[in-house]
């Protein structure tokens, strides 16, 4: 028995050496994501269209519940995941805490969605009222978490008008995305700020209307291109494995290309599977939501100047934090 063990060790070492030689084909990465959640569906499209495998990556899926956006950065910090797909605001928060402490920022946004996907829906009887008219009303607005990307964006928009949320009589209530529609139907909420899926469900139920959407340009022309979905990773991992990081980013871009090229019905099926929704709902959503990634330096700069400055003004992040502390776009291949 002992002799067998002794012989087994060099054999295993030889095999692992072989694995190392073919590392390009078998690099294993751990990827965290909000699940089920429509904003991270590009991950599932990458899995289903084999773009990770084609880029020599073996992905270990590390999902975390929708709404728990801070779990993603916490997982990256603990070293439990290498990359994550989720919200963008938390990356700035965590980097800011490190920069305030005189340490290098530990997490970087390396890629992002091509659209923001923020939908501010209100119940139907508020239709026709302007933002100024709504300002004095005691509205209850649902958010998936207190530092929601959608709220950050709304605050940034208000800032451009010289206002803050304190100027409004509204109450912002934390509630899970799936509960927003039932809460609005049962008059517990007057509206919500969430993603395209929740907005679609509200529209289908005739419970409300889209009051504002950044994709529509309601929150300013620059806000149209803001990346709503963030793809971020551990800086030490990315610096130690630049090739793996590039291939991971490329996998998501390849999945985006696959989305563009695939028939609508195929993509609807994939998106329905990932978000656990009825395909009819996803079909309704399809023209309202673009799951692709493809962040440009201009979009990242727009994010920084609009959302970053709003967060600095509110004291959420330090003025010492710089664009390069939050973003690292060096792993993206330029689009041909």
């Amino acid at each position: 028995m002992k002799r067998r063990s002794v012989l087994a060790i060099p054999a295993a070492a030889a095999l692992s050496g072989l694995g190392g030689a073919r590392s390009h084909a078998t690099d294993r990465i751990r990827v965290g994501m909000l699940k089920p959640n429509i904003v991270t569906v590009i991950y599932w499209i990458a899995v289903k269209t084999d773009t990770f495998a084609k880029n020599g990556l073996d992905v270990v899926e590390k999902p975390f519940p929708s709404g728990q956006t801070s779990v993603g950065v916490e997982q990256v910090l603990r070293g439990d995941t290498d990359f994550c797909l989720g919200a963008t605001g938390e990356v700035a928060h965590v980097d800011s805490r490190y920069v305030e402490a005189g340490k290098p920022s530990p997490v970087a946004l390396l890629e992002g969605g091509v659209v923001g996907g923020t939908f501010f829906c209100l119940r139907d009887d508020l239709r026709g009222k302007s933002l100024d008219e709504l300002r004095g009303m005691k509205l209850r607005i649902g958010l998936s978490n207190p530092s929601s990307y959608h709220l950050i964006l709304f605050r940034a928009f208000l800032r451009s008008r010289g206002q803050t949320t304190d100027d409004f009589q509204w109450r912002f209530l934390t509630i899970g995305g799936p509960e927003m529609l039932p809460a609005m139907v049962s008059h517990q909420l007057d509206g919500f700020m969430h993603d395209a899926l929740t907005a679609t469900l509200a529209l289908r139920a005739k419970a409300g209307f889209v009051f504002m959407s950044n994709d529509r340009g309601d929150m300013g022309p620059e806000a149209k291109s803001l990346p709503g979905t963030g793809v971020y990773g551990s800086r030490p991992f990315m610096e130690a494995h630049p090739d793996v990081t590039k291939r991971f980013a490329q996998s998501l871009r390849d999945a985006s290309d696959a989305f563009s090229a695939a028939p609508r019905a195929d993509m609807v099926a994939m998106m329905a599977e990932w978000s656990r929704q009825d395909p009819a709902v996803i079909d309704d959503l399809y023209d309202r939501f673009d799951p692709r990634v493809g962040m440009t330096p201009q979009a990242a700069q727009a994010w920084w100047s609009i959302l970053g400055s709003a967060m600095v003004a509110r004291g959420e992040i330090s003025p010492k934090l710089t664009f390069t502390d939050v973003f690292d776009l060096n792993y993206l291949r330029p689009r041909s």
Binding site: T69, S70, V73, L77, E90, H93, V94, S96, R97, Y98, A101, K103, R140, G142, N145, P146, S147, R171, F172, L173, T174, I175, E179, A183, S186, Q188, L189, R314, G315, E316
Partner: protein, 293 residues
Amino acid sequence: MNTIERIVTPFDVPPGYSREDFLRRMQLRNRRVRLRRLWRGAAGILAILLVWQAASRILGLELLLPEPLTVLRNVVTTLTVSDSHWLYGPNIYVHLWHSFLRAMAGFVSAALVAIPLGLALGRITTLREFVMPGIQGVYPIPGIAWIPLAILWFGLGDAAVVFVVFATVFFPLLFSAEAGARLISPTVLDAGRCFGARGVTLFFRVVLPATIPYIITGLRISLGGAWRMIVAGEMLASQDGIGYLLMESRFQFRAVDLMTAMILVAIVGYATEKLIVGTIEKRTIEKWEVQPS
């Protein structure tokens, strides 16, 4: 007459001591015991703080486990911060006050229902046999499991949080009152009856005082439970309060604010326990010199 004088009768004085000498010796001994407890407690806390400081500093965990001094400074800053420089909406005192009101609303309403019901169940066997199985069946449901149903029933807001606190603290209060009332010694009851106490008089003069130690224990356990549940409830169904503050600071990745909020909960929880349960205890157990039967 102080406590020692009341307790020590002439029969307790050992031979060779005068009553005064013995009392003086007892007082000195008690003072020594109190001092010993104080310094041992302080040493224990200091040891924890030192380990905490060392872990934070040596392992470089300042952002995940801020140093105790940093947290202490932040507690002071938080208590003196003005609204205009505060990231978490209203002033900290408003958060604490709202949490306190919600916790007390749930706690007091539960006490008003659970204690009389518990006393009745403890004394009336027929009622106990009908009601207790149902209550024991519901009891294992954790307080936090009531939150989705509370939101459905009462909507997002204070009522849901108050209900969750009610559902959490109701059972310890009920069970302690019921046990207290059920376990009263028949001798005590017979003694009361011998002195002519019947019905309401027997209840207020004998049953209630004999049950008080149990009720106090139930109140003490429940108040802690109320604070634990208020934090969980506010995390999910509120836009202010200490639970909301904890949640927001987590999303802001501010461990120092998280720990500050936790310390403030501990301080307020301890203060309310001393103030409310302590006062009730003084006005009942100590005044009536009640011993569990």
